[in-house]
């Protein structure tokens, strides 16, 4: 492209042909104040702040509207220019509130920065109170304080030009112009796609995100994409939803596989914290992200991700991994690809951990798990099943360069008073394992599950499916505070499982080595303190129940003790530092064994982290990131979709139409990151002019 040379305030700079004078100056590190200008939008020359004088022209011009010409001599700081800018800014401030400190944009406001740059205070002009700024109303996603609006029109332009949506316009009522939706309708009744572009470009506090929609403690590029931020593995969720919408299932799987090792299993059973972060929740219901993932994996015909997977040459180092669950297998997968000779010791007959021995088969068929394990093993992981490791010292002797403990939390944890060996009482983790193995004892006609988390529901629903007549769940939480997924609760109720909320077991009567009758009491609240569980009981609500089988779904802990040879915390958890190192050199830990039961996806993220840490420890770069799909530049023009805000969630997809219809509901939060950030005058970029020396 032809380079153009011009002189601004005595500095000779180079500009690109066709560039605006303002952008050329900004690029060269010369700050010219501007407000209605945004590099992604058509310049309008409305705010008058980017005024400059050009030699040979009698009038002051707006530099955003002028195209650079070779040999131009520009003055950005003449008295006439300064006077015009001052007047323009004073005029804007005349109708702008003065309570800067009470505005959420305080210290992050372009208008405020400009006031400081130009030294303009609220001034000699008359204050103007605009009536129509009261018209626009906030909603669940976008907070409007239109009295702070200076009508720069950026929001209107971004919505129209960049997004092709046109939800906003400059309206007029009683001779007063104001910015709002077309026809003053609520955003949910307009074409709005809730992409947040208007918030992104608003220079003042007029249009903002509602507080709480985005996390405040994550970096901006993560926080603005809440699904990706919430996902423990930070999967690029908006990207694969977009690909599914386009029917590009193989590409979608490539994106998923960049971060996840068991995509098909996760598509069935993931605890999907991504969905609880989903911005669309505030509009109606979150996107069915898990179902989209499942659908993509099941319709991936080409497995294109395989072509781009990195594989390093063997480096001659050996790593042992104890536990073939999601964390262990994930770490093994990445370490093998990094060139390590990786060996997994699995206590059970099958690898997969909780996927094979915890989650009921009606939720996750075993062949899905087996298939995904095979895919991982293709990289060359050696898996020794039925191999229980009792102490790290056993492995140390075998000459491994590093050892990873990823044995999960496989021992049930009951309230201390009930740690008796009743023959008809089981821990949920054992119940689930036996059910997966097909080794369950006779359950009788009544099964009572104590604990209302997802595991409790797994037990109850498994028992029901096995034909038990009466299945009940006793849960200390009230119905609306239960830890289990909504879908589990409704599913259980449909299967005629009783859920007894806000109740605790006070006492268990035993007869003949069996837990026989349960004394229950209603509770108003409960909390766990240093002394143990404290109940706020509701007097006179005692009841008694008898049961044939009692299942404790009250927590899990690792099956570890001191003889394992590493330092423990909280009696059975492995003590690690922030880099997952244990107290023994070369021994690391990952997954539930560090932090207790969380989720499969958290274990996968932990396994990835462990792989990075171990690679670094053994002299590698610790980089396991891979780009399995080269990203194209995203099309910012999303256009309109009929009744977008009202589109209902589809929980289960029958066909590609459903997959498409659900994917299209996505608000595409990630698009907002592509909008250029405006640099303030204090930006280091403007500290020195990039001058051309001849």
């Amino acid at each position: 492209m032809k380079k153009i040379s011009l002189k601004i305030d005595g500095h000779v700079i180079e500009a690109k042909e066709g560039q605006s004078l303002l952008q050329a100056a900004l690029d060269a590190g010369i700050y010219i104040p501007h407000l209605c200008y945004h590099s992604d939008l058509t310049p309008l020359g409305n705010c008058k702040l980017c005024a400059v004088e050009i030699e040979g022209e009698s009038n002051i011009v707006q530099s955003c509207e002028i195209i650079v010409e070779d040999g131009m001599i520009v003055n950005t700081k003449s008295e006439a220019v300064k006077k015009l800018r001052m007047t323009a800014l004073e005029l804007m401030l005349a109708s702008h509130p003065k309570d800067c400190t009470s505005c959420d944009k305080y210290l992050n406001c372009e208008l405020q920065a400009l006031m400081q740059y130009m030294g303009v205070a609220h001034s000699r002009l008359r204050e103007i109170d605009k009536e129509n700024t009261r018209i626009a109303k906030s909603d669940n996603l976008i907070k409007k304080e239109m009295r702070r609006c200076i009508q720069c029109g950026r929001c209107v332009r971004v919505c129209e030009e960049l997004r092709g949506v046109k939800a906003l316009s400059i309206n007029k009522k009683d001779g007063e112009t104001y910015i709002n939706t077309k026809g003053d309708r609520p955003l949910t009744e307009t074409e709005c796609r809730f992409c947040g572009a208007c918030v992104e470009v608003c220079p003042t506090g007029a249009i903002q995100d509602v507080k709480g929609v985005f996390s405040s403690d994550a970096p901006r590029n993560m926080a603005l994409v809440p699904c990706k931020n919430e996902c423990p593995a930070h999967t690029d969720i908006p990207m694969y939803i977009r690909l599914v919408e386009q029917g590009r299932y193989s590409d979608a799987v490539s994106v998923i596989r960049e971060k996840l090792t068991f995509p098909h299993s996760l598509g069935c059973i993931c605890s999907h914290v991504c969905e609880s972060g989903c911005k669309r929740t505030h509009l109606n219901k979150p996107i069915a992200i898990r179902e989209i993932k499942r659908f993509a994996v099941e319709n991936d015909k080409n497995e294109t991700w395989r072509e781009r997977v990195f594989r390093n040459e063997p480096n001659g180092k050996k790593v042992a991994i104890i536990g073939g669950g999601p964390a262990g297998m994930t770490a093994a997968y990445y370490l093998t690809k990094k060139g390590y000779d990786t060996e997994v010791y699995e206590r059970q007959a099958l690898p997969g951990g909780i996927l094979s021995y915890g989650i009921p088969k009606y939720r996750l068929p075993q062949d899905i798990v087996d298939n995904e394990i095979e895919i991982l093993k293709e990289e060359g992981i050696k898996v020794y099943t039925n191999s229980s490791i009792e102490s790290v010292n056993e492995l140390k002797e075998k000459g491994y360069d590093a050892i990873l403990i990823a044995i999960g939390a496989t021992r049930g944890k009951r309230p201390p008073a009930y740690n008796k060996q009743w023959s008809n009482a089981l821990d949920a983790v054992d119940f689930c394992r036996m059910s997966c193995e097909g080794t369950l004892p006779k359950l009788g006609d009544t099964v009572t599950v104590y604990g209302g988390g997802n595991v409790g529901f797994d037990c109850a629903r498994t028992a029901k499916k096995l034909g038990v007549g009466t299945v009940r769940i006793i849960c200390m939480e009230a119905r609306d505070q239960m830890l289990a997924d909504r879908s589990e609760i409704t599913g259980a109720l449909e299967e005629n499982i009783e859920i007894l909320n806000s109740r605790a077991i006070l006492n268990i009567e035993e007869s003949g080595g069996k837990a026989d009758a349960l004394s229950l009491i209603g509770i108003k609240s409960f909390k766990f303190t240093a002394k143990g569980l404290e109940l706020d009981v509701e007097e006179g609500t005692d009841t008694k129940l008898t049961t044939d089988t009692l299942i404790f779904a009250t927590g899990q802990q690792p099956d570890l003790n001191e003889s394992f040879g590493i330092e423990l915390v909280r009696s059975s958890f492995v003590k690690t530092d922030e880099t997952m190192k244990t107290n023994v050199d070369g021994v690391f830990a990952a997954g539930d064994v560090i932090y207790g039961t969380k989720s499969v996806v958290a274990a996968i993220a932990s396994g990835r982290q462990a792989a990075m840490t171990i690679d670094k420890y053994l002299g590698g770069d610790g980089d396991i990131e891979e780009t399995l799909l080269e990203r194209e530049k995203l099309n910012p023009n999303i256009g309109t979709i009929e009744c977008f805000a009202k589109l209902e969630r589809i929980d289960c997809f029958k066909d590609t139409c459903d997959a498409n219809a659900e994917s299209i509901r996505c608000l595409q939060c990630d698009l907002r990151l592509d909008i250029q950030k405006v640099k303030y005058w204090v930006d280091p970029h403007f500290k020195a002019v990039k001058e051309v020396t001849k």
Partner: protein, 216 residues
């Protein structure tokens, strides 16, 4: 977004109208300009409104001493740099009239007076006791309830409450409601029977008025 505002909408100043006030005309001119503004360019949207507010203060008798210069300053920027022809033209007209009738503007700003008693802040309304026949029509019409009186009594306007809606002026069959500038005629403090004020008193009052006017 192309502005459709057009200077053809602006009213023109009739220099031959001896009852008009140039400041009042400019107020109306800028009111139309600000309401016609498409809202995009800051000088048009905020500038014409600001000028309107300043002139409004002047017509209300609330001007500040530097307002003339402030107006010229803002209008000058609008004339030079506003995006549309409409607001540039309005600013141009306003500035020309400020220069041509500088004395009248100065009188408005510094002495809160309007030669033709057009600007609301520069006059009060009163009921001429010689003309009022106590019919009570004005009393009923006043939206502020600022007129006191009764059947057969000369009505009296409480100028503190009067909003100068001018409704009483239009309903009075005798044309008895009049404007008073800086010099106020002597009036009864409260309603008195029609005809109880003598002609002589009035003519004396007239002379006082003339004398005072000469002094100023």
């Amino acid at each position: 977004m192309i502005c459709e505002a057009n200077s053809a909408l602006l009213p023109s100043w009739d220099a031959s109208d001896t009852n008009a006030c140039v400041v009042d005309y400019c107020l109306k001119l800028m009111d139309i300009a600000r309401k016609e503004s498409c809202g995009k360019c800051v000088l048009c949207r905020e500038g014409t409104w600001q000028v309107y507010e300043i002139i409004k203060d002047i017509t209300k008798g609330n001007a500040q001493s530097e307002d003339f210069e402030l107006l010229l300053d803002v209008l000058g920027q609008i004339r030079k740099s506003a995006n549309c022809e409409m607001s540039r033209t309005a600013a141009c007209i306003c500035m020309d009239l400020m220069k041509t009738y500088e004395e009248e503007w100065d009188m408005h700003i510094r002495r809160k007076r309007c030669s033709n008693l057009v600007c609301k802040g520069t006059y009060t309304l009163y009921v001429d006791p010689q003309l009022c026949d106590g019919c009570g029509k004005c009393l009923e019409s006043c939206p502020q309830g600022a007129i006191a009186g009764g059947a057969g009594m000369i009505h009296v306007i409480n100028t503190d409450n009067c909003s100068k809606s001018m409704i009483c002026v239009s309903v009075c069959p005798k044309g008895a409601i009049k404007k008073a500038g800086a010099v106020k005629p002597k009036l009864p403090g409260e309603p008195v029977p029609v005809g109880s004020l003598s002609q002589t008193e009035d003519s004396q009052e007239g002379e006082t008025t003339r004398r005072r006017r000469r002094r100023t």
